[in-house]
């Protein structure tokens, strides 16, 4: 049974439609990341799930129950906010216990739960401090703690790490993932940071302009992006794109170059017409100029990244990135050829921008 299902959720603010018919089925215990650029409607979607915003159309079913009409506190969810939203005048202990107090939980249970969560998140030493006396990372722990003591099986996160510095973010990311494994609760996590998405998620929903473009395992999002947007958004450096055409015999034509697509697994039969070829930097190899199945290119510059390097080549009027070994990067000639691994490439229709 799925933990949460969203059925054709629509939401507009005035004339502006923010969510266009979002559908999602989320299984129990999954860690779902909603990834997308700023303003694509991620927070709005999360607020709709939580009940903080009412949706205009559609249905939200949580554990088999339609909760579309329920108040946020009645949906059995917990939520962690980007700005922590701790109760400013209360101590950490009271921040944790206040919600339970409101809900009429027995005193003994409250004490027990606060102790449990304080131990779990290692905030025992902070219990008697006020939020203003905590660092950003500590506040975030308290905010997570406040969500956990609600003991709901579903937890929502809205960019919880974006106010932390890079090192702390990396640490907290790992801890959150471990927490998910310990607790086994369903988590929905909103971010615009693709590293968080790739490392934490069981499945990633990539959103763009109020639509879910792809909802899949992070690796398949990386390897088989379902649309041009996903391909360009996920991965660093961004995927290389080359415009061209597909001829009747299944060859990709661009300028006076033709590349065979026999190795490519098309999702539909016999496509043709204007297409875009996308290839990741690690799926391009540098060969001698004029080698078979290669495209002439000239080196613009190289970037050393420590473990490996990136070569930037001018090719077919575009600048393409190629991942290189450090040694190869140092001794790279200027005039070379590039060969694409077509089994790992992605082809998109220019018109629909979907994967072919």
């Amino acid at each position: 049974m799925s933990s949460i299902s969203l059925r054709q959720i629509k939401k507009s603010f005035g004339a502006l439609t923010i969510l266009h018919s979002v559908d999602m089925e989320i299984d129990k215990g999954e860690f779902i990341v909603i990834l997308g650029p700023s303003g694509c409607g991620k927070s709005t979607l999360l607020n709709v799930i939580a009940g903080l915003d009412a949706c205009d159309e559609g249905q939200i079913v949580i554990e088999g129950k339609d909760v579309s009409g329920l108040e946020p506190s009645e949906r059995g969810l917990a939520m962690v906010f980007q700005s922590y939203a701790l109760f400013p005048a209360m101590t950490v202990r009271r921040n944790l216990s206040f919600g339970m107090e409101i809900a009429g939980t027995p005193k003994a249970t409250v004490v027990e739960k606060v102790a449990w969560v304080a131990k779990l998140l290692q905030i025992e030493a902070l219990l008697d401090r006020k939020p203003a006396q905590l660092s950003g990372g500590q506040r975030q722990r308290v905010a997570i703690g406040r969500a956990l003591v609600r003991s709901s099986s579903i937890c929502l996160f809205d960019e919880p790490l974006s106010n932390l510095d890079a090192k702390l973010r990396a640490e907290t990311r790992v801890e959150l993932k471990q927490l998910h494994e310990t607790l086994g609760s369903t988590m929905i996590y909103v971010t615009h940071d693709q590293i968080e998405a790739m490392t934490m998620a069981d499945r990633v929903a990539v959103m763009h302009k109020g639509k879910v473009e792809q909802f899949a395992h992070p690796q398949s999002i990386y390897e088989k992006p379902a649309s041009l947007f996903v391909a360009g958004f996920v991965g660093s450096p961004a995927m290389n794109f080359i415009d061209g055409r597909l001829d009747g015999s299944g060859r990709f034509l661009t300028g006076d170059i033709a590349i065979g697509t026999d190795a490519y697994a098309f999702e539909e039969r016999q496509p043709s017409g204007e297409i875009v070829l996308g290839i990741r930097c690690e799926d391009v190899t540098v060969v001698d100029r004029g080698a078979p199945e290669s495209i002439p290119a000239s080196l613009a510059f190289t970037e050393l990244l420590g473990a490996d390097a990136l070569g930037w080549f001018d090719c077919l009027g575009k600048r393409l990135s190629v991942r290189l070994g450090i040694k190869a990067a140092r001794s790279m000639r200027k005039e070379v050829g590039l060969r694409f691994d077509m089994s790992k490439a992605s082809l998109f229709s220019r018109a629909s921008e979907r994967r072919l």
Binding site: G51, L52, Y84, L86, F87, A89, F98, G99, A103
Partner: protein, 291 residues
């Protein structure tokens, strides 16, 4: 140009120094002079022979001064609690986005633009049993209706409270409203997620988190209480009898009507001391927060 400016770097100091000199002479200088006068037996004309704290003894055996102080406490407590409560309530209503918010905000802010003299005169007219509310309601037909607080020595002080609240509630409303508008939207979302009832959210989460804002209101209202003069002059002139006398009016009366410079100065210094004592908790909490 810029090097010239750098060489002239002391100029701002001079400008500010002039300002400080003005403050020092006219503000602290006046305070010192008043304190000096309070130690003399000056009447109409300053006398410079110091007699010690005689004027202060006189002051605290003066029935009118003691009544003034008591009145100030009564007025202060009711006025401050009432204004804070009413102003905050208005701010909350405005923040909950009741319909026609800007209309109400204007209505409640207008009294602030009206001088206290006009406020006092209007309320005197309204509360005067022979011309105002009581006469009006009796005119409609409720012959036994009585609202004569303005003319009753034991109640007149509360008419000042009513007029004062009417005058200042708008100020508290805008200050608290500004504070409420500054509340992070995520905090409200968290409150809704926890299912906290609205009144508890305000009383236990929102207002405790707005302590500096509330403290500013308290300080503003307190200074209003201590220097309260115009409203009394316009509404009751201290009467009936001496039932609505207050320290500021006492000082002014003794400076000008009764030409007792020494006693009036002693009263002024006592008011200053009182202000400092009342502000102490505020400064203390500010200081503690800094360090």
């Amino acid at each position: 140009m810029s090097t010239w400016l750098k060489r002239q770097g002391f100029k701002p100091d001079i400008t500010v120094a002039a300002f400080f000199a003005v403050v020092a002479i006219f503000f602290y200088g006046s305070i010192l002079w008043t304190f000096y006068m309070s130690l003399t037996r000056s009447t109409l004309i300053p006398k410079y022979e110091i007699v010690g704290f005689d004027q202060y003894f006189d002051l605290f055996t003066n029935q009118r001064w003691l009544v003034s102080c008591l009145n100030m406490v009564i007025f202060g407590v009711f006025y401050m609690v009432g204004t804070l409560a009413f102003g905050t309530l208005l701010a909350v209503l405005a923040d909950r986005r009741i319909k026609a918010e800007s209309f109400f905000r204007t209505i409640f802010l207008y009294p602030l633009a009206v001088s206290l003299i006009i406020t006092g005169l209007s309320w005197r007219w309204l509360l005067d049993p022979t011309t105002g509310l009581q006469a009006l309601i009796r005119g409609i037909g409720w012959e036994t209706f009585t609202f004569d607080w303005l003319t009753r020595p034991d109640r007149a002080i509360y008419t000042l409270v009513i007029a004062g609240i009417w005058h200042s509630a708008g100020l508290v409303m805008v200050i608290v409203l500004a504070g409420l508008r500054g509340i992070d939207n995520d905090l409200w979302k968290a409150i809704r997620m926890e299912g906290i009832p609205l009144w508890r959210a305000y009383c236990q989460v929102i207002f405790p988190g707005m302590r500096p804002v509330i403290a500013s209101c308290v300080v503003l209202l307190m200074s209003e209480v201590i220097r309260g003069y115009d409203l009394i002059i316009a509404m009751t002139k201290g009467g009936p009898g001496i039932s609505t006398e207050m320290p500021a009016k006492f000082a002014v009366d003794f400076y000008f009507a009764r030409v007792n410079l020494g006693l009036a100065s002693a009263a002024s210094i006592m008011m200053l001391a009182l202000s400092l004592i009342m502000l102490m908790p505020y400064f203390y909490s500010e200081f503690r927060r800094r360090s």
